[in-house]
Amino acid sequence: MTWVNGITIGIVLVLIGFYGVMTRKNLIKIVLCIDIIFLGLILFFVSIGYVEEGVAPVLGEFTLFVDPLPQTLMLTTVVVGLSTTALALALIIKVYEKYKTLDVRELK
């Protein structure tokens, strides 16, 4: 069990994303940071189900297999993240049209 595995990297990605949301001033960068958080979470989830030397439980004979549930759950999360990002970018376009800026400090 090394420390460099999907779970730790996923958590680190989440933290990087949070740091980005807090420090970036550009709206688009903030939305991308939220995406990074969700990517980290997806990595985290998929790694939870990982079993060493396990195979995907599809067809055929297998004794050791990875947990397929987190992977299916993450398909949903991917879709949710995609729609949130799309909506956020659409709103950003509208905000830019009305305020002529993407800087959070100027939007106040």
Binding site: V21, T77, L87
Partner: protein, 475 residues
């Protein structure tokens, strides 16, 4: 019998789909399409109510209906009722926005999300329904197409995405340590987790508290709420304050009680004190607002604080009071927002000092509803606040009871300011305002006001609802 529960989610989803299809035909005149949409939305809601009514007898007699993942909660009935009323309000109100056909479609997606969160018994499904709910709310907030609405919606979107990320993180940890996402199995897993690995349990609790804290806007995380709730179009403000905050409160009660009473009693003082802080901040900020909808939004924060305090005290009595207050606040605050919409429309301003009485029926309902929120005896707000305070004193939290009572007294200050504005001398205007209050807009308000009086006069109905909900959460 239990298969019918699936329909509760499926019907609004289907209605949303059909409504979005009505936006497609190019050559059909708008008026026909509008009529079609009205018929579709009202019948969709009607079918939903009928299904609920079919389920109701079994649920009210104490059975928890389950169908592999579902349960029936009395809150659902209240939410669907309020959504129905707000839909009526929006029939004449939202003409300009509904021409695009997106308003109704997203409205029903939102209803599907609300119903789903109440019904689900799976933590990950709860997350998915929350996302359906929030994404449609982001769109609905911008329905007024005002300049600020885009900013408010974006602010809400960013915070809500962060909060759902935290929620998902907590779900991941729960799955990793319990091996199941079904609430019944997870509850057992979490109980053993409390004994074996309390540090991890604290992490899960903190993640859930912060994430649901953003959604319910408890105090350090409340700053998005006044913008989103006051800028959204009136029926959406009513639903945001009345129902959607309650959905998150429901999730909070549901998930916190999963940890078991022993762990809950350890952490509950934190919830109680943040609740009290929320009451104080919400009340004080509401006092200085000049815009009536903003004032109502801050008042929502303080009422949410009262509910969270009740949850945090954690005795049976206080929990019962808190759940009763959830129902009461859902009815009162959505009614108040709808009244405020009509009154502000009639006096053509949202500034409190310039408001005029307008239609007397609406003004009377406003007075009744605001007295209910303040907690004047024959109305429902009194009963639930009294139970929470009584529970607080019984559980040795007298300070919290004092804060709730002081907040109630102060809330007279900001509600009476509005009512006072109704009675000041009218300056004769040369042009009489031509704002026609449609019957569709005033009837929901009357119904909500009458319901408040009924729940106040016969509090046992409400207490039974709260009891059922508690039983439902417990098992």
């Amino acid at each position: 019998m239990s298969g019918i529960l699936i329909l509760l989610v499926a019907v609004p989803l289907m209605t949303a789909f059909l409504l979005s299809v009505t936006a497609l035909p190019q050559k059909v005149p708008h008026t026909t399409l509008m009529k079609l949409r009205n018929v579709l939305s009202v019948s969709g809601m009607g079918v939903l109510c009928v299904i609920l009514a079919v389920c109701a007898p079994a649920a009210l007699s104490g059975h928890v209906l389950t169908y592999t993942v579902g349960g029936w909660s009395p809150f659902l009935g209240v939410s669907v009722l309020v959504c129905f009323l707000a839909l009526f309000y929006s029939i004449p109100h939202m003409g300009y926005m509904r021409r695009m056909g997106k308003y109704d479609a997203f409205y029903f997606l939102m209803v599907a999300g609300i119903v789903g969160v109440f019904l689900t018994r799976d933590i990950f499904n709860m997350y998915v329904f929350f996302e359906i709910l929030s994404i449609s709310v982001f769109v609905l907030i911008t329905a007024g197409e005002k300049k600020e609405s885009y900013k408010a919606s974006l602010k809400y979107l960013i915070l809500a995405s962060l909060s759902s990320a935290l929620f998902l993180f907590a779900v991941g940890i729960i799955y990793a340590s319990c091996g199941s996402l079904n609430m019944d199995y997870a509850a057992e897993g979490m109980k053993s987790m409390v004994e074996e690995n309390p540090e991890l349990m604290y992490v899960v609790f903190t993640l859930l508290l912060v994430s649901l804290g953003v959604k319910t806007s408890i105090v350090p995380l409340h700053f998005w709420l006044p913008d989103a709730h006051s800028i959204a179009p009136t029926p959406i403000s009513a639903i945001l304050s009345g129902i959607i905050l309650k959905v998150s409160i429901y999730a909070m009660v549901r998930l916190f009680l999963l940890c078991g009473w022993q762990f809950y009693s350890e952490i509950s003082p934190i919830i109680a004190y943040t609740g009290a802080a929320t009451v104080a901040v919400g009340t004080l900020l509401a006092l200085v607002q000049k815009d009536i909808k903003r004032m109502l939004a801050y008042s929502s924060i303080s009422q949410i604080g009262i509910i969270v305090t009740g949850i945090g005290i954690g005795t049976d009595l206080a929990l019962q009071g808190a759940l009763f207050h959830v129902v009461n606040h859902a009815l009162m605050k959505s009614g108040l927002f709808l009244c405020a919409g009509i009154i502000a429309g009639q006096s053509r301003t949202r500034e409190i000092s310039k408001l005029q009485m307008g239609a007397p029926g609406v003004a009377v309902s406003f007075v009744v509803l605001s007295l209910g929120i303040i907690g004047v005896p024959p109305l429902n707000g009194f009963v639930s606040k009294f139970i929470i305070c009584y529970g607080a004193v019984q559980a040795q939290y007298s300070g919290l009871a004092f804060i709730i009572l002081a907040a109630s007294v102060l809330s007279c200050g900001y509600y009476f300011r509005v009512i006072q504005a109704f009675f000041k001398k009218k300056k004769r205007r040369k042009k009489t305002p031509m704002y026609r209050v449609s019957r569709f807009m005033s009837f929901p308000v009357y119904i909500l006001a009458v319901l408040c009086v009924i729940l106040g006069l016969f509090p046992l109905i409400g207490l039974q609802i709260a009891d059922l909900a508690l039983k439902m959460v417990g098992g």
